[in-house]
Symmetry: C2
Subunit: 206 residues, 2 copies
Amino acid sequence: MKKITVFIVDDHYMVIEGIRTLLQDEKDIELIGHASNANSCLAFIKNKQPDVILMDISMPDKSGVELCKEVREMYPAVFVIGLSTFNQFTYIDKMMENGASGYLLKNADKEEIVAAIQEVAKGKTYLSDEAANTLKNVAHEASPVLTRRENEILRLIADGLTNPAIAEKLFLSLSTVDTHRKSLMRKLNIKNTALLIRYAIEHKLI
Amino acid sequence: MKKITVFIVDDHYMVIEGIRTLLQDEKDIELIGHASNANSCLAFIKNKQPDVILMDISMPDKSGVELCKEVREMYPAVFVIGLSTFNQFTYIDKMMENGASGYLLKNADKEEIVAAIQEVAKGKTYLSDEAANTLKNVAHEASPVLTRRENEILRLIADGLTNPAIAEKLFLSLSTVDTHRKSLMRKLNIKNTALLIRYAIEHKLI
DNA sequence: TATATATATCCCCCAAAGGGTGTATCTTTT
DNA sequence: AAAAGATACACCCTTTGGGGGATATATATA
């Protein structure tokens, strides 16, 4: 039986070492390499494609989401498992939308990592319990969806622009910007700018 | 020669495994245990004090800064090295202020980790190059120091309270809160609430 | 096609934010 | 003991924010 080949991309050396150790006495899994940034990863897999890539979502040169997308487009046979310390739905969501087959948190234990690799290598999906819960909760919460304009204006508010400044920048009337800002706050059920910025940062909208 | 005993506190299992692997063939270093949260750490060292603790700054139950402070007060002979993925001055700063002897980023390689442990065990200080640079830059930037009141009010602003609400909560007049908010913004050279909240979040003041 | 949603515009109104300047008391540092 | 900073308060005034409600048009989507 052929071993499952695995590649790791993570900018934290300790994490790479940790996973290497955890996987070293698994007979059906072989770690064929690792990289600490997106470009090294792409360079490596050009020559040799692993069955599964364990991929950090935050890397110095490129986000895991982007890298995941690119890898999946170029090598559809390579499955990706997202790795993250943050149990945030936007990350999980975005990774899955961009072709990831699974998602693990960095506090996962050996059994979970091995199970995830084995499932994903078969073409199935694996979400850690915590990640699955987060996705489920989000689906139930019916998270308010902001329109392009609302998102755009939220970003500009977070950049410190006032409504008149935003109006000028977007060639809109002050009234329009005002309305968008208000419906933004109505949708999110938020009552002032301070909380609006916190919401935006906590939900990775900016 | 006695081995240097080391303990790890980090809520990411992979990081613990990574460090364990990196240290396992160092003859003068012995890993005597690990914990994934602050309370387990305190429970462990009650019975057996290591020479050095490698301590994550972010943990589920308590911040590394607090844990560091407590450990150093109770066991002055135990030296602490902060571990973090974030190269943020406030963390480095606060850890050092609270008795840490060193600071490592999680992308540190084996040589750096070993060097840090050896230096710190001698009672010396070890900062990773990146951390040292950050501290140096900050020292040169003359980072504005906020007073207790200003910090308190900043936190309440970030919690979404308006000036009148803050005044009521702190039993102050509106004018006073107003003045504090203004001097807060003067010191930080910030012109509106949106940027104030971003500043506070990015500098881990809230 | 009908209906819903996104987008853009206007109005009123008042509360809150923010810029300036001044003063008094207390505490900390020199 | 003097200087410096923190804290608390006041008054000025203008801009911005935020709570309503209304209207029109384009563009999706049922």
